[in-house]
Amino acid sequence: MSGVEGYMYPNEITLYWSVLIVLYPYITGLVAGAFILASLVRIFNVKAVAPTYRLALLTALAFLIVAPLPLMFHLGHPERSPEMYFTPHATSAMAMFGYVYMWYLMAVLVFEIWLDYRRDIVHLSQSTTGLKRLLYRVMTLGSDNVSPHALAIDHKVGWIVTLVGIPSAFILHGYVGFIFGSLKSNPWWNSPLMPVVFIFSAMVSGIAAVLLIYMFTAKMRKMPIDMPCVDTTAMYLFYIFILDFSLEMLDLIHRVYEADESFRTLNFMVHTKLYFSQIVLQICIGTLVPLLLLAIVQVTNLPAIIRKRIYVISGCLVQVAVFSMRWNVVIGGQLFSKSFLGYTTYKMALVTKEGLLMAIFLTLLPLAILWVLLKLLPPWPDKELAYIEAAAAPTT
């Protein structure tokens, strides 16, 4: 049979979890990571990364809105998906998704963004006209009290929401890892480290994504990049990346040393079918190169222009690494037979419901949503707005 080496159980030849299921943990990871970066400002009081705070929240929201779409497109019967809310199966890890998602979307992210933007929304609802005014008036939810006392309450409640949000972000992404890690049928997935590795790689990808988006939007708006901000963000990225890589290597070394009944099969798979995506892309290009680059920045005193370039390159490579990691987990876990006697091949379709074009569309969609959110709720710090207004004043 084409694409099959050795022996696969006959029902295993087709892969049922496609590139969309690769995309799903990648996108939720970006959400969790971006939120953790925002919490650095709010909870851990890291003032240096404050310019990314609102941007990180909006990035998390844009990706979270898209997060369930790959799952929906993957389902054989998406119209039945509400059953997960109405009749969830208590023993299923996957049944938790609906609740975790809704909790995170509504109780954490939307609530926190609303609290943080309330003053701006009230202001905008009074200063704009027409349809925009109506939209902002709806977004105030009837609460237009922006007295110092009211804002102090907003701040306090926002702090609590962020505090609750940190474990929620861990649960959102840790549970995605649990879906894979808890399956005893599949030795490639079955590991208690899986949720932890997923969380750390999520933080890495989310922080890197916000760093890239911050630098890109600053360039687009012709604003100076706040170097202490990007330096601090990159420092956090570097240290969390070290933790993430250490955990992944711990998992790998453990598997190699333990060498259980599945080892021979998995080892062969890593050296053949996953060689490019795991060894070359994930470990060498996506992890070691950015780690080395970020380490150089930490120990040397490079000029700002070089540091910026290093951050852009590292940020992009980190995305390659984390996407490859998701790919290697999801697709890799289906390439070998549970009989440990053979391998199949994943043939990605192009224009089908679960094909490449759909995957590209779902990757770009959050960026489009983010663009709309940035227009609707500008996240730029007040001093920047003042700078823009001052720069615009002489010409008008």
Binding site: N11, T14, G76, H89, T91, M94, K184, S185, K338, F340
Partner: protein, 244 residues
């Protein structure tokens, strides 16, 4: 129609056979079937299996199994004494049309292993279903409510035995039902009925008169992948250690 006595007598035996099959196709109703009185399982007697593929064909016909997917299949193992843990296994088209001739000049051993859903008492597939569309019935059969299944394929991933697939047209999970529509009417499964050697036997563990009890007491019987602790209920007589 003009039938003379000669033709009538020729057609009579054919008609009798046809009538017998009509009767066989309409089994007695079992209004008194009580699920709590049964705990279904299956016995596979490996030395008796000849790899004819009758069971695979009967199953496909009975259950309208889509092409390229299998509710049951037969594997042929070739185990050599110098590499006993890495057998050579084949199952061309699930063993539906039998197997190519084996090479008999080497020192290995050949045997057939029919596979099907193990109807596990602690099944990982039912555990992971997000909406409970797959469940174990009170009589011990793992079933799927295909009008409720989302088609997420989590159960396919969770089955350690590769017994599940997504039906290409219905877009829902599908697998062996142990011919539930037959066994609840007092019939045996299509695969057991089609097996020419009696290598497959439907068994009711709650029936004290079922010969399975004597068989389990007196034979070397195991389940597949016991380390998975799934409570598998398909029992294999003389199961070789190399079988996965």
């Amino acid at each position: 129609m003009n039938v003379d006595r000669r033709h009538f007598l020729i057609m009579l035996p054919a008609a009798a056979i046809a009538w017998k099959y009509v009767l066989a196709g309409t089994p007695e109703e079992s209004p008194n079937y009580k699920m709590s009185d049964h705990w279904w399982s299956m016995l596979i007697d490996i030395p008796k299996c000849i790899g004819c593929g009758n069971c695979v064909r009967a199953c496909a016909l009975e259950n309208d199994v889509p092409e390229g997917h299998f509710r049951t299949w037969v594997e042929r193992y070739h185990v050599t004494d110098w590499d006993m843990v890495n057998p050579e296994v084949i199952s061309p088209d699930g063993g539906k049309e039998g197997f190519p001739a084996a090479q008999v000049d080497d020192n290995g051993k050949y045997f057939f292993v029919p596979k099907l859903c193990n109807h596990c008492a602690d099944s990982p597939c039912t555990q992971v279903c997000p909406v409970g569309a797959t469940f174990i019935s009170p009589d011990g059969v793992v079933l799927i409510d295909q009008t409720y299944c989302l088609g997420c394929a989590y159960c396919v991933q969770a089955c350690p035995y590769g017994c599940r697939y997504i039906h290409p047209e219905k877009k829902v999970a599908d697998k062996c039902t142990l011919c539930y529509h037959r066994i609840t009417k007092g019939l045996t499964t299509a695969c057991c009925e089609a097996c020419p050697t009696g290598a497959r036997q439907l068994a009711d563990l709650k029936d004290p008169n079922d010969p399975i009890h004597a068989f389990l007491r007196t034979h070397n019987v195991q389940v597949l992948k016991p380390q998975m602790a799934t409570g598998a209920k398909v029992f294999y007589n003389e199961l070789d250690g190399s079988v996965r």
